[in-house]
């Protein structure tokens, strides 16, 4: 371990004026990176952050495990006769719910990160402007993938057997991660709009709880009152949960997949530009 060396300049090697001059002589500038390359570079920054602060993976490991265990054993006996029966229905849904919930950490980290001096530098670079945010979300996509793998593993241990096989499971995860990436633009918007971390957290809870619980994740909507069915059946989370459930179950729920991707596109189209507007104003 490196001891926190805040010892002053006496240990610091001198600045070499000659080599500095030699470096400065070159005035050539490489051509600007493409939008893709800049976004991937910011994605790499997100990975480096995970490498240096691995604790931030806590919310994509411990939290999902807790969710699977809790809801399987809490509702399993009552709703499906046994936890083992229930997990067959629950796992894809709880997977969707947990990963969508995890997306809200994006807002909090954008909110704290944006205040740092390094953002002034990023914003003074001649690069595709949204790449900073896209990079963020690419890093988060990795976190969502980790959370999905963790939950599937726990689910399999508890007895979940996906009929869709490897291909179905991969398709389900891919759809979920793509949706979450798009959905996260809501949080980048709030992260930039609201002044404190706490208010970001507060608003996120207000959005995420009704949205995820009022869906078909836990039970079939047919048991709900009509007005609630109207909401639940049209919720993006319901469409996504049905799509993921179908894909992992070996079906090809084309309608639900299309609905999920449609919603995902809508989120990017609406909240992407708002995020960038706020980012440019910050």
């Amino acid at each position: 371990m490196s001891t926190a060396t805040t010892t002053e300049s006496k240990e610091l090697a001198p600045v070499s004026a000659e080599s500095l001059a030699a470096l400065l002589v070159s005035k050539e500038r490489p051509s600007r990176p493409s939008a893709w390359s800049a976004s991937m570079t910011f994605g790499w920054r997100a990975m480096l952050k995970i490498k240096h602060v691995p604790e931030q993976l806590f919310d994509v490991t411990a939290f999902p495990i807790m969710m699977v265990l809790m809801y399987t054993y809490l509702f399993g006996g009552a709703l499906a006769g046994s936890p083992k029966e229930y997990i067959q229905f629950l796992l894809p849904g709880i997977l969707v719910m947990s990963v969508v919930m995890i997306t809200m950490y994006t807002g909090v980290s954008v909110n704290t990160d944006i205040e740092k001096g390094v953002f002034d530098r990023f914003r003074s670079l001649p690069i595709w402007r949204p790449s900073t945010m896209v990079g963020y979300l690419l890093g988060d996509a990795l976190r969502y993938t980790i959370a999905s793998i963790v939950m599937l593993t726990v689910g399999m241990i508890l007895g979940y057997r996906p009929d869709g096989g490897v291909a179905g499971v991969l398709a389900g995860i891919a759809l979920l991660v793509a949706f979450s990436f798009s959905f996260s633009w809501i949080w980048t918007m709030f992260g930039l709009m609201l002044r404190t971390e706490k208010s970001v957290m507060g608003v996120s809870m207000m959005v995420i709880f009704p949205l995820t619980f009022l869906s078909n994740v836990f039970v079939d909507p047919k048991t709900m009152p009509g007005w609630l069915q109207a909401f639940v059946n049209n919720s993006p989370i319901t469409h996504l949960a049905s799509a993921v459930r179908g894909l992992m179950g070996g079906d090809w729920p084309a309608d639900e997949v299309a609905w999920s991707l449609g919603w995902a596109g809508l989120f990017v189209l609406v909240f992407g530009p708002v995020t960038m507007r706020l980012y440019n104003r910050k």
């Binding site: 070499s16 470096l23 790499w44 602060v53 002034d120 690069i127």
Partner: protein, 339 residues
């Protein structure tokens, strides 16, 4: 650079930025010749950083115009961004990443390929004496090291214009000198530097022209010599052996030097602000004449020092108030001098 030889690196006209009710920048006109260090001198809250942020395309001006190498900072922000680099007041690098990672990250964002980004990062770390700390997270760096990595990040591609926003605030004298050396090396290669600072001696050391800014307005502009002669030659600080002789000494100095003399809180100390000097030598000459007068009058001087005009004095001379008033803290006893 050749196209800018005769031109201006920065030109602003009536630049304004308001935050709510506050006019942080209130009609700033600047003309910064290319290839020089231009100092923007002012106390905290004077509008220096806000001005720099507008010029670096980070803030949109609410009024007026600003051009960097002929490009409008709003309409042609991308052209401007391609030619400038910014080193902020706080470290503009990612504290969670290592020195190498920071430089490679920025190198990639500037369009270098992986290999050349790594190469350039290594060379810069070497030149800045940071090779040993290359694999350490920046949050473990000392103040001086942070400044270095920050400036290194700014010159990954040699910029045409480098903004240095208070580059030595909070540094010890030695690290400060090293930063000054770096700035000199950068300018020697043809880069224009806009330096903001609270320290008169820093502007004096590095800048060829200086703008003094206060409450969002430029209150004086010129070469170092012009600015200094408008402020006076400096001040003489004296400590007498006998507090009883202070009034006598003050009277003598006032006559001999034609200077403003001011008693200090310490009963044996007083300060004489020297009048405008014709050349650099005459401050010392005036001071030695004063000492002679005091000796002839039988006043024993225990301690004597000749000070450069401080930023406080520049402000007093230019505005009639000292730097503290800018932040509405006028509880300083020195304020009385203005009366």
């Amino acid at each position: 650079m050749s196209t800018q030889k005769s031109g201006l690196a920065i030109e602003t006209a009536g630049l304004v930025k308001t935050f709510g009710e506050t006019r942080a920048v209130d009609g700033v006109d600047l003309a910064v010749p290319a290839g020089t260090v231009y100092g923007v001198l002012g106390p905290n809250g004077a509008g220096k950083t806000t001005t720099v942020k507008m010029l670096a395309t980070l803030l949109r001006p609410d009024g007026g115009e600003a051009h960097v190498f002929g490009h409008d900072v709003v309409r042609e922000a991308d052209e401007v961004r391609g030619r400038v680099s910014l080193t902020g007041q706080y470290a503009s690098v990612d504290e969670d990443l290592t020195g190498t990672e920071n430089l490679v990250l920025l190198g990639r964002l500037l369009g270098h390929h992986k290999k050349s980004a790594r190469e350039r990062a290594g060379q810069l770390l070497e030149a800045f004496g940071l090779s040993e700390a290359a694999a350490k997270q920046v949050k473990h760096y000392s103040g001086g090291m942070r400044r270095r990595i920050d400036i290194a990040a700014s010159i990954l591609n040699t910029p045409d214009l480098l903004f240095l926003d208070e580059p030595t605030t909070g540094l010890d004298p030695r690290s400060r000198n090293q930063v000054w050396d770096i700035v000199r090396a950068v300018v020697a290669q043809g880069t224009t530097v806009l330096l903001t600072t609270q320290y008169l001696d820093e502007a004096d050391q590095l800048a060829s022209r200086i703008a003094v800014i206060d409450r969002g307005k430029v209150i004086a502009e010129g070469t170092k010599g012009e600015l200094k002669s408008s402020v006076g030659a400096g001040s003489v600080h004296l400590r007498l052996r006998d507090p009883g002789q202070r009034d006598l000494a003050a009277g003598l100095l006032r006559r001999a030097l034609d200077a403003q003399v001011q008693p200090e809180p310490d009963p044996v100390a007083l300060t004489a602000r020297l009048a405008t000097a014709a050349g650099d030598d005459s401050a010392a000459e005036q001071a030695s004449r004063a000492l002679g007068e005091l000796a002839r009058a039988g006043i024993t001087v225990d301690n004597f020092s000749l000070g450069q005009p401080s930023l406080d004095e520049v402000f007093l001379a230019l505005t009639g108030h000292d730097t503290h008033e800018s932040s509405d803290r006028s509880d300083n006893p020195k304020d009385e001098v203005a009366a």
